[in-house]
Symmetry: C2
Subunit: 218 residues, 2 copies
């Protein structure tokens, strides 16, 4: 399998963490798509992923799978343990809900802020910007941090009692927050403590180290 | 189980179609949340779903599951046949990818247009609007129709050879398009032919009949 991505991107981090948790890294080869040059918006890449986002998993039969949730579902279904997307109907439902919520309320909101209300990837890539919408999404993301703080006051992981895809999505959000210098509020102590715990996982520590601002795509 | 929803809403339609396809309707009771009065944005409902969106599935143990994809995963995992979210890793990946793409490029884009650039649910509910962003999303949705038209020129269903959650998400998009009077372009013949076929499924026909503009939430 091949993964088309940009090594320090927050969305690519989600799949790289999932791969490491599943111990599947040796089965993929990485192909760099240069975000800074806008390669992900050019026809050659859009033929692989209409939405023009990274990462994309290319299967050995030539199928292209985009969207982190879809790629994680694929990887998780390849074998049994550990599971990232749940075993029972209730676990599957909760993990998908919390992962989607982490996109809506945190990660995707920060991405919109980055692309709409900051220089983003530069004028050649950001050909349309709506700064007001971007700032609106930034404020939503800060509220989202408070929401996840409240969740993590009551349970050890984002979707309950076990590490899952939902934790990975929140990690993606906090990686992106670091890149755009949107700090987790000091009062979000449970979110900060959970993140400290996440950074002790090798899968996460390696990703976050790569995504430090010095390695940022912008 | 209970489903908290608004009977004619495009997102509620996704779960109602899934329920009908799985023949699980008899196991749920519907509770109406009055969109027109903004009940979905009030504290009592936000305690059930932080994001303030419909539908929400309430399990018998009191767990609330929001987000259509998560609810569909839950329902699909309750039993084996028919499957809406795939059996093999590749099917799961493709269905999740295409369903997410149908949200990004069609359904969610139309929803943003509705809430940001039209009167939406009225001034008491739409307390923030960014019309420029709304029109930008409307144009994205029209491009999305052309994208799905291209897909349906080459295969019978949105994610391949079988009906799935991804078809349901595109149906939700076309229901919402009808509500906001955003017609499928005449040249999108494959998309129109596919939709005609979808309307022959009882699960879909009943929903679309309910969601005619006369029954629209606005």
């Amino acid at each position: 399998m091949k993964i088309h991505d940009w090594p320090t991107g927050p969305y690519p981090a989600r799949v790289r963490i999932a791969l490491a948790e599943k111990n599947l890294q040796s089965r993929v080869r990485f192909v760099t798509v240069d975000l800074r040059r806008g390669e992900h918006k050019k026809p050659e890449f859009l033929a692989k992923n209409y939405s023009g986002t990274l990462p994309v998993l290319e299967l050995d039969d030539g199928t292209f799978l985009a969207e982190c949730t879809a790629i994680t579902e694929y990887l998780d279904a390849l074998d049994g343990a550990p599971t990232l997307t749940g075993r029972t109907p209730r676990e599957k439902g909760l993990i998908h809900m919390m992962s989607k919520r982490a996109e809506l309320e945190l990660l995707d909101a920060i991405s919109v802020y980055f692309h709409q209300a900051t220089p983003g990837l530069g004028p050649d890539v950001e050909i349309y910007q709506n700064a007001e919408w971007g700032f609106h999404q930034r404020d939503k993301a800060v509220r989202g941090m408070h929401y996840f703080d409240g969740i993590l006051k009551t349970q050890p992981f984002v979707a309950g009692e076990a590490f899952s895809m939902a934790d990975i999505t929140v990690i993606g959000g906090l990686i992106f927050a670091g890149l755009v210098k949107l700090p987790v509020p000091a009062e979000c102590e449970a979110l900060q403590a959970w993140y400290k715990g996440m950074l002790e996982r090798p899968s996460v520590r390696d990703r976050v180290a790569m995504s430090e601002p010095t390695g940022a795509p912008a």
